[in-house]
């Protein structure tokens, strides 16, 4: 299962709005997306699970993807997190 690591830059962490941006993008892929933080796992297509990680600014996130478009999903999602998920970073 391909995976990528990325540091969360959002000053207030992965709260509702940035989480929504992430989940919306994840929903655009058929691959299953798993988001991991300090060993905690979340379904990347569930905003409640993603927010439930309680990831703060500076946290390392591991994104894993499995399915047909997994590689593309990883590239897109990593870029999105690096760009601040639609927020000031």
């Amino acid at each position: 299962m391909p995976e990528a690591r990325v540091i969360l830059k959002n000053p207030s962490g992965l709260h509702a709005r940035p989480a929504a941006v992430f989940v919306q993008a994840a929903n655009g892929f058929t691959a299953d997306i798993i988001l991991q933080r300090d060993g905690k796992e979340a379904n990347g297509k569930s905003i409640l699970a993603v927010m439930g990680l309680g990831a703060k600014c500076g946290t390392e996130l591991v994104i894993r993807a499995e399915g047909e478009d997994a590689d593309q999903a990883l590239v897109t999602l990593v870029e999105l997190v690096q760009a601040g998920l639609g927020e000031a970073s």
Partner: protein, 567 residues
Amino acid sequence: MLKGIAAAPGIGIGPVYLLELKPGQEESHNNQFLNGSEEVKAELARLEEAIGRAKRDLEELANRTRQEIGEAEAGIFNAHILMLTDPTFIASVKEKIKVEKKKAARAVEEIAEAIASSFAVLDDDLFRERAADIRDVAARLLDNLAVGSRRALELKAGSIVVARELTPSLTANFSRNTVAGIATEIGGPTSHTAIMARALGIPAVLGVQGLMNQARDGELAIIDGSAGVVYLNPGSELLEEYKKKKAVLEAGRRDSKYAGPARTRDGRHIEVAANIRNAAEVKMALEHGAGGVGLFRTEFLFMNREEPPGEEEQLQAYKEVVAAFQGKPVVVRTLDVGGDKPLPYLNPGHEENPFLGLRGLRLCLARQELFKTQLKALLRAASYGNLKIMFPMVTTLEEIRQAKKIMAEARMELEANGLTVSHVETGIMIEVPAAALMADVLAREVDFFSIGTNDLAQYTLAVDRGNERVAGMYDACHPAVLRLIDVTVKAAHRYGKWVGLCGELGSEVDAAPLLVGLGLDEISMSPVFIPPMKEAVNKIAYHEARELVRRLLELPGPGEVRVALSK
């Protein structure tokens, strides 16, 4: 008087509208169980339909919020849509219906409550407050499950809405015309209700304990959203005082041709603010569409006179500016003078090298009475709007701590005299290279930074730009200066603090991609440059600007930076 959290600035006066929310409660308290697979099937279908209706409501609300309030606020409802249609949430609710044979409403309530409680234990306010969003989404779904529709609010124009807790959806439906103020028992400054109230310009005080017990429907109330206090059934004297305060605030409200915020093509909001020196420049700043004041230079109040202005005189001067901006941020820089800008009554004595001498905050810490008088005037003026205090020429952590100590004393002395002082954001200017390099340490001590590029460039390049023999070496676009700005912005953001820039570099419209790409949250400049700067920012894509800055930081000198920017 009841104290709460100052969540949205401004003053509201009007009759209390007691709002008691019981969304779909009867429905969810129905303890009946489903009988047989047919009823389960029907209940699942009812759930799907209700989710569909709730989703359409939210989409409409998101659209309306985008048009009437803003993109960032609309994002709250996009998040709500995703919560409503969350696969984990829906699967758990269906499970309860199928296995435990519970009615949909009860299943929704139980699951939502379980999720909300799991958020409530996270060690961060921002996440904890998301529990309120989940309850809001659940309430909407419950309303759609209930027979009959959601109870419409019958608000009289100019009401003060008093509730235990408000949901973002309800708040988004308020307007400044119908709601004069908001007070709730539950909620903090980062709750979505607070964000929405600020965006709508409705004064709000949240987290007021004992509010629901004491407020009576229809009774007069005053909301002071800047001080974070609520007065129920105020006396006539207090009422008159607040009416006057409110009139002062409203006199400053003006329309502007360039009123909109600056936003990059990919949606990053940049506050474009004005540098001003006195109340007379306020009009110009507002006419040019300033989103606030990024630098209010107070030294002009102290110049051309025999003795320093007293607390009352200063209060009048600050109040006028702060009130005129109607809750928009006004960053006031404390007295910034020294050997290079001497004041007769301060007489710092002759200095060989005034730029490296007793100036800015250093001088204020040496003249504490003078400093404290200014801080008192500023703390008092803060209740007229959104005032922030900024210390100039900071070099060390110790200086910040000393300044904050004097500010705490000023606050205590005011409070001892019976005055209510609101929380005031405190920041520092980054203009000394030592402060930029230590920004990660200093960021923990303050609420924001503002980068003064003129002095930062002079100190970094060791060039007096007033000395024509070396002035040619001065350029704020030198990569050495840009790297210090980069370090500062990154350090601040790591600690969730915002960063502005108020030097002359901020007036350079050609440098807009540089300013945006450095990640600045605010750019402050002479008012005349605001419209062209906004226009320039609107054309930039933030992710491209970031890429550009990454390359600029590697260039050998300012000439190369200028060439790259002109392309």
